[in-house]
């Protein structure tokens, strides 16, 4: 439905990192991808380093627009000074890109799509409705949504990882370890992420966590 929203109202704190405005899902846009991120403090990450060819990525060409503040982008190893009003268009999905805020309150709007194809959301964005509940600390609601997604696609690493995060944060230790183990089995890049992710602080001292990170099979025999 047609509508309006302020970026400052949409942007929600989800875990560490910038506030995320889920613009596409908020308005129900289905023709192109669009999100925005706000870093409240200078030095904060605006765009985590990524490319668009990983398992969770959409292979989109991406347009970044600095809506306010001042950012520094790094694209394909090149540093780009990007004050408010700068467009950075990354055509090649294989290129690494990231951005850091240089001023408090720096905001970036991102639009994306795959050339020559009808738009489909990136796999990672399926998690958006659940991640919203991380922001409000309603982890049971996040788990309910992620369990629904896991039933649809049992081997989606992103869903499994986020489910493990929500379970860790809500004290569901065994479930969290089981789903983290499974996430790392299907996509080993989640190992490095989990090592640094404070969502796993509640279970970090558990031997099961260490064994999941190490990629060892589940010693309890329950399987993943």
């Amino acid at each position: 439905m047609s509508g309006t929203a302020r970026l400052s109202d949409l942007a929600t704190q989800i875990g560490q990192g910038p506030r995320w405005a889920m613009v596409r899902t908020h308005f129900g846009i289905s023709a192109f991808g669009v999100n925005a991120y706000v870093a409240d403090e200078a030095g904060g990450t605006l765009i985590s380093e990524h490319d668009e060819v990983g398992k969770q990525a959409g292979r989109h060409e991406e347009l970044y627009f600095v809506g306010s503040g001042h950012a520094t982008f790094t694209v394909d190893g090149d540093e780009i000074d990007a004050p408010a009003g700068t467009f950075v268009f990354v055509r090649d999905p294989g290129v690494k890109r990231k951005a850091v805020a240089r001023e408090d309150g720096t905001a970036v709007v991102i639009a994306g799509g795959r050339p020559g194809e009808a738009f489909t959301p990136s796999p990672w964005e399926r998690n958006a409705p659940a991640l919203y509940h991380f922001g409000t600390r309603e982890y049971d609601k996040a788990i309910e949504i992620l369990e629904g997604l896991r039933e649809e696609t049992p081997d989606d690493g992103g869903v499994l990882y986020n489910l493990a995060c929500a379970e860790s944060l809500s004290g569901k230790r065994e479930q969290a370890i089981k789903h983290l183990r499974h996430a790392i089995e299907v996509d080993h890049t989640f190992r490095e992420l989990a090592e640094k992710d404070s969502d796993f602080d509640p279970i970090r001292d558990d031997p099961g966590f260490a064994s999941a990170i190490a990629g060892k099979p589940d010693a309890s025999g329950a399987g993943a």
Binding site: F27, F87, V90, A107, V109
Partner: protein, 212 residues
């Protein structure tokens, strides 16, 4: 357009093409950066109280999202009037009438759009807007080149020939105006109906060879 891995442009570096007499400046973003997966443009009103988004609805089924990048605008969205300071998103479904008037000087709105369920096609109107933009900026020959490119991209579309006829009428090129209009009418008789109402042709109406 070179196929670099990435492109960078600041909004102040984009072309500024006037598209009407109400102060609306079109700033092509998609065209400048070579984006093909979706449409995107910026629009600027230098003074307050000028149009910054044309009043229209999307006849081809495109979803559109507007982001107020600087200044402030009053949007019309269907029957609603919305105060939209910098940092506001406005989403319009295809059938919803929308438009905006700047309420502060130097208001810029960035628009994103595409049609759901189909690969994005670059709008044929872009080069026609460029042509008239060059003309309004006093660059007649650049405008004529852009118009030729618009016709070459869709040679069987009457709209290209019709707009070329308007362009030549505005620049007082009698023979070229009549030739383009004749070709437009051959492609689609609706061109004659439009030509009857279009004041661009007023000075040509009494010409014995005017084809309407």
């Amino acid at each position: 357009m070179s196929e670099k891995a990435y492109e960078v442009a600041h909004i102040d570096e984009l072309d500024r093409f006037p598209v009407d007499d109400e102060g609306l400046l079109w700033r092509p973003v998609r065209r400048r950066l070579g984006i093909t997966a979706f449409g995107t443009n910026a629009y600027t009103a230098e003074k307050g109280d000028e149009r910054v988004v044309e009043e229209h609805h999307e006849q081809d089924g495109a979803e559109e999202l507007y982001f107020v990048a600087s200044g402030r605008a009053t949007f019309t969205l269907g029957d609603e009037e919305i105060d939209a300071p910098a940092g506001t998103f406005i989403y319009a479904e295809p059938g919803t009438k929308r438009g905006a008037i700047a309420s502060e000087p130097k208001t810029t709105v960035v628009a994103f759009g595409a049609r759901p369920g189909v690969p994005h096609e670059i709008s044929a109107w872009e080069e026609i807007f460029v042509a008239f933009g060059h003309l309004r900026n006093g660059n007649e020959e650049e405008g004529r080149k852009a118009m030729a490119a618009a016709i070459a991209a869709k040679p069987d579309a009457w709209q290209g020939q019709f707009n070329a006829a308007c362009f030549e009428a505005l620049t007082k090129n009698r023979d070229a105006a009549i030739e383009h209009l004749r070709r437009a009418i051959e492609l689609d008789p609706r061109a004659a109906e439009y030509a009857q109402k279009d004041t661009d042709f007023d000075w040509l109406r009494d010409d014995p060879e005017f084809p309407v």
